[in-house]
Amino acid sequence: ELKQEFTRTLTTGNPHTPRNIIRYSFKERAYKLVEHMDQTAIHFTLNGNLVHRDSDEGRRQSIRLSTDSGKAPVVEEEAPVEASAETSEEAEVKDEEHAGDTEGEGEAEKAETVEVTEAAEAEEPPPPKVPEKKLANQFNFIERASTTHQNPLREKGCQSDPAPFLNFSANVNQWDIYDAYVEELEKIEKAKEKEKSKPQAVKKEDKRSGRRFSYVEPQHGDSLSKISKAAKIAERMVNLNTFDDIAQDFKYFEDASDEFRGQEGTLLPLWKFQYDKTKKLAVTAISWNPKYTDLFAVGYGSYDFLKQGHGMLLLYTLKNPSFPEYVFSSESGVMCLDFNSEHPYLLAVGFYDGNVAIYNLKKAASQPSYKSCAKSGKHTEPVWQVKWQKDDMDNNSNFFSVSSDGRIVSWTLVKNELVHMDVIKLSAEGTEMQGPEGLQLQTLGCGTSFDFHKKIDYLFLVGTEEGKIYKCSKSYSSQFLDVFEAHHMAVDSISWSPFHLKVFISCSSDWTVKIWDHTIKTPMFVYDLNCPVGDVAWSPYSSTVFAAVTIDGKAHVFDLNINKHEALCTQLVVTRKKNKTTHIQFNPVYPVIIVGDEQGLITCLKLSPNLRKMPKEKKGQEMKKGPEVEMAKLEKLLSLVREPESKE
């Protein structure tokens, strides 16, 4: 290391000059690096008092000296006289003698002095006089000089930032001015119409200020709304990328192992939908939107009687699994919801506190558009199911609601108000009581679910907490058409078959799922699932396929065509223990089901091909497509079941 050689080079450059000075050039309107810096380093400066003899000042001085030469001897003697003011008389005498001599001699002296001055001119004029002065006072006067320490001077430069500039261009024409004024007037008129009661300001200043506000605001509004749309699209793109494999599965994946599995099928888990605020709430209702088949609504509330909190209503789309499209919150838990098939932006919701409400998705409001209240006839018990009906004769939308208070109420939307009408009271048969004053009181059964027939408008079924199913008609308000002794516990869900006109399915907490023909009192098929069944749903593509969820977190898919007694697929849908699955729904278009559970989680699963089997084509036979085929399929099955019974 010691033997390392260091090279040092001496350059003629000044190491202290800055190499990266940037200056703003007004000519080019930009910041530019100054390339050539002066390399001179000044170490010492002293202003001298030498004047060149040929320069103006030098010539002036020489002329001055030559004119002074006549007075020079006098001056010379006077100078010593002045200088030696304090000297002895001898000097004075000498001087006087000198003076006398010179005056006497006159011209000769002048000539001498002229020579002296000329000689003096050859040298610098000032110095010869000074040493003469010094010589005279060598012993009496000592000259001392000193200079104070002077700080070295350093040059520093600074430049402020140039003011920012912008270009602006426009064209002024008479028609342009006219158009602008007309537009402005229109805006003002609109604003006036909106406010109506604002007094007209006559002064110009007021007008001006008002207009300024109205001119500035739209700019803000436009920019925000533009960003929101772009942000939404960007969000969906990001989600698609994140969940790319799931999206691919959703569209294209068909489980190949189904061929080896015989009859069984599987449910492939796809997306999971979660929202922070609903983690403690249970999913109480799910429904797909009839128009936008990727949009579904989820209602959140609580089934626990003691722990009742607020509720939420979220709308998710399959295109954005990470965040709901719409979020509504409510004071009471949401128990059921339904989309209006004619107006897919209207959503009817039933609450735990007995209220019903209609949300209008077109309006960006966080509160429902219409809500019932105590005086407008809300239920006194939780509303368990709501269902829209066709628009009535006045083209007003209306829906039905069923509740534990035993009333089935029809709500009509008349001129921005919800008007209710009691359709039927569910009287529990055989329990008429004698009240005071001889009144006959009827205890009302508690309705827990209902469903309207798809084709026969007035016919509907109601399931109750006692396990009975009543077949009712809208035209009769006090009597039922029929009663089915269906279950031993509350009927959780009833659903008419979308294909067959006579068949419906019901499920209950008594562990069973039953399929009925409404003309026959006993069920066609009974399935015991060993666990309370939360929900059951028909599939939209096949009349013989339906799915059920049980509280232990399993989803069961049945296909009557293939296996009449057992489920084709029983699969655990939720991973956490103590999580009960509460609802299930088929997507009307895609082979997908969604399952909701008690912790606010929605899981979307894809049905494997085995579960979606269509009847196979037989050679030579034409395949009929359409609901008739489905109906015929089911009819065939049912007849198998019915015949032995009819024989009995």
């Binding site: 500039f165 261009s169 426009a170 002024v172 006219y178 602008a180 200043e205 300024r212």
Partner: protein, 106 residues
């Protein structure tokens, strides 16, 4: 005769309706904009016949108030492309047919 009278009335109406000051484009801060606009209106009303004097008045007042090198153009039909200091531009219509452009550029 009646028609021309009506036309004249229309014109007068239109002048009245359209004569309020309308800011077309401005990036001045609020206070500055208000002041400048009022100054322009005052000047245009005072020198209704002479655009040059109105412009002169506006320019001199702006120079005094807000710093040097303001430029003012008043007219009824022209096109322009200018470079201006940021937050020092006002372009407005007034009087139904006048356009005023005021900007600062050193």
């Amino acid at each position: 005769m009646e028609e021309t009278e009506e036309e004249k009335k229309d014109e007068a109406d239109y002048k009245r309706l359209h004569s309020f000051p309308l800011i077309r484009h401005s990036d001045m801060p609020e206070e500055m904009r208000v002041e400048t606009m009022e100054l322009c209106v005052t000047a245009c009303e005072k020198f209704a016949t002479n655009n040059e004097s109105a412009a002169k008045m506006i320019k001199e007042t702006m120079d005094k108030k807000f710093g040097s090198s303001w430029h003012v153009v008043i007219g009824e039909g022209f096109g322009f492309e200018i470079t201006h200091e940021v937050k020092n531009l006002l372009y407005m219509f007034f009087g139904g047919s006048l356009a005023v452009c005021v900007w600062k550029c050193s």
